[in-house]
């Protein structure tokens, strides 16, 4: 019964792992496979040395950490606040309505959301018309590095917030109702109940979600950037994945260097994931299998 899964995984997942060998080769794309290729210089580490000397690479690493880091933090705080506010809503239909609107973008692709944002936030777009009528100037969201980064981060929070919101709402529902009642008898108001009862009760879930997001620290949102960025904002918006993509796709098509970066990224990610999963297991007894 396992056979179909094993065959597919062997071919498509293990099959592509020759990319790990590629990282240490001076890869000639016309030969097409990793067989019969020359080894890279410096005992095979030439690709790594080459890319680690590139200023643009470190720019991309910096951008990735900055963008991804803020996305992770806001991606927890915003859904948490929403979940707390929604939990206070007593009208069922209203609660369902806002949940649906907050959750919908999660199920749309970046092509869709990106193209809407590109249109709305363009120089002559509706957002700038509104901004001009209030502040008298227009903002170049897709040319100014800082504005671009802000837009990237906030739009990602918008797309992703419904997911964690659902997790936090479920956690809040699971809090023992008698704890609230006990606080109430002691004279605690609703705000005190939230701060002293609800937040401590759901803290493990929040920390668990945060822990598991750290594994994605080096990602930063490839799909989103590929749709929304342009050469003018590489300085502030280029992340490791987009950098690697262009490296292998255009110009000299340095797919070997791209593979080297990918391997380095995988190693760091494995260490991050290993660490965070170990932490999640020790602290919350969370296991993925």
């Amino acid at each position: 019964m396992l056979l179909p899964g094993i065959i597919l995984t062997l071919i498509f997942k293990y099959g592509s792992m020759f990319g790990i060998v590629m990282a240490f080769q001076d890869f000639n794309i016309y030969k097409g496979t990793f067989l019969g290729q020359e080894w890279a210089s410096d005992h095979g580490f030439g690709n790594f040395i080459y890319v680690f000397k590139m200023e643009k690479f470190w720019q991309a690493v910096f951008n990735t950490l900055l963008i991804s880091g803020i996305k992770i933090i806001l991606g927890i705080i915003v859904p948490l606040l929403l979940a707390i506010l929604i939990n206070e809503v007593s009208k069922r239909w209203f609660s369902r309505f806002v949940q649906t609107t907050f959750f919908l973008p999660f199920f749309l692709s970046w092509v869709i959301l990106g193209s809407i944002l590109l249109e709305m936030f363009s120089y002559g777009g509706i957002v700038n018309t509104i901004i001009e009528s209030i502040f008298g100037t227009r903002i170049m969201f897709f040319l100014d590095n800082n504005w671009f980064r802000t837009l990237i981060i906030l739009s990602d929070v918008w797309k992703g917030m419904g997911y964690n919101m659902v997790i936090f709402l479920a956690a809040i529902m699971g809090v023992d109702e008698t704890l609230f009642e006990a606080t109430e008898i002691d004279g605690g108001n609703r705000f005190q109940q939230i701060v002293h009862v609800m937040l401590p009760s759901i803290a493990p879930v929040v920390i668990l979600v945060m822990t598991l997001s750290i594994g994605g620290l080096l990602n930063g949102g490839f799909d989103q950037l590929l749709v929304m960025y342009n050469p003018m904002v590489y300085e502030g918006g280029d992340i490791i994945d987009t950098f690697v993509y262009r490296l292998g796709m255009f110009g000299d098509r340095q797919v070997d260097v791209a593979s080297a970066v990918n391997l380095a990224k995988s190693v760091v990610t494995i260490i991050l994931m290993g660490g965070t999963y170990y932490f999640a297991y020790k602290k919350f007894d969370y296991r993925i299998f």
Partner: protein, 299 residues
């Protein structure tokens, strides 16, 4: 529990409802704006004058779209990959998850097999190794590239496995005692019991298939084989000249780009790309919620 509403509580509720309603409206505006643009004449849109109400109302975009062959070809490919891809994924996921859900005592080597799948979550050859692999396998420009590589998604296997684990062992043991084989147990007992979970996985896989676009761009040279989302992507690239500098497009791709029209046409196509999801989503939301909260936390 009945809460007696104090004055402060009432003020809070008004503020709370207002904040949430404001945010909800903010989240809907982009889509209403898109709809308004699709019905507006381009001269108003390009000046940024269209907000939520169409200016210079026209159905031109939709009329033009009705005859646009490329759009329907792409739509057809999207529907096909969603239906076929989901069906095949589901079969593979269920068949893989079932044996892995057994205890170590029942299925020797279970941990080893689980790791065999898990490793692929953390380690891969990267985009370009994948490209050369597909080239060797003859998957470039081949519809199967949308279906096969992603069929055995490890996350969904893990999710399904956890669902199967929740089913009491005694039911299986009783069936085996009555002489049923493992396939009978799976199809007659486990699958019917796990139907809600299967629905969740079907929905996630189907949406994933519908939304995929990068595989089309990366592994198809021929734009007539693009699914809708990849087609929409080339449309965005073509409408923004600054983006094109970083792209090498084949002559066929450039040719396809020439046929793509103004802003209202773009908006109309994007809107139609959202429509299927927006229509089914409110009804199926509870399955998604269940999948996220019951299954496992997929980050």
């Amino acid at each position: 529990m009945k809460i007696k509403k104090s004055k402060g509580r009432i003020v809070f509720e008004v503020v709370n409802y207002s904040i949430l309603a404001f945010l909800a409206i903010l989240c809907i505006i982009p889509f209403l704006h898109l709809l308004a643009v699709s019905f507006s004449a381009d001269e108003f849109t390009s000046k940024g004058e269209v907000f939520l109400i169409p200016q210079g109302f026209t159905m031109q975009a939709y009329e033009y779209l009705a005859q646009k062959k490329e759009f329907f070809t792409a739509l057809g490919i999207s529907v096909m990959r969603t239906v076929l891809g989901t069906a095949i994924s589901l079969i593979v996921i269920v068949m893989t998850a079932y044996p892995l859900s057994k205890t170590d005592g029942r299925f020797k080597g279970r941990t080893g097999f689980t790791w065999f799948f898990l490793i692929t979550m953390f380690l891969g050859g990267g985009l370009f190794a994948t490209y050369f692999l597909y080239k060797q396998l003859g998957l470039l420009n081949n519809f199967l590239v949308y279906i096969l590589p992603g069929a055995c998604d490890v996350w969904f296997v893990l999710m399904m496995m956890n669902f199967f684990r929740g089913i009491p062992k005694e039911i299986e043991e009783a069936a085996l005692m009555d002489g049923a084989g493992q396939f009978t147990v799976l199809f007659k007992i486990y699958i019917p019991l796990a139907l809600p979970s299967i629905a969740t996985i079907v929905l996630f896989t189907a949406i994933g298939q519908w939304n995929s676009w990068f595989d089309g761009i990366m592994f198809m040279n021929d734009p007539s084989k693009y699914p809708l989302q990849s087609y929409l992507y080339t449309m965005i690239v073509s409408s923004d000249p600054t983006k094109q500098s970083g792209f090498t497009l084949t002559p066929e791709q450039l040719e396809a780009l020439k046929n793509i029209g103004g802003k209202n046409l773009q908006a109309a196509q994007i809107f139609l790309g959202i429509l299927p999801i927006a229509l089914v989503f409110p009804f199926l939301q509870r399955f998604f919620v269940k999948g996220i909260t019951v299954g496992s936390v997929k980050g």
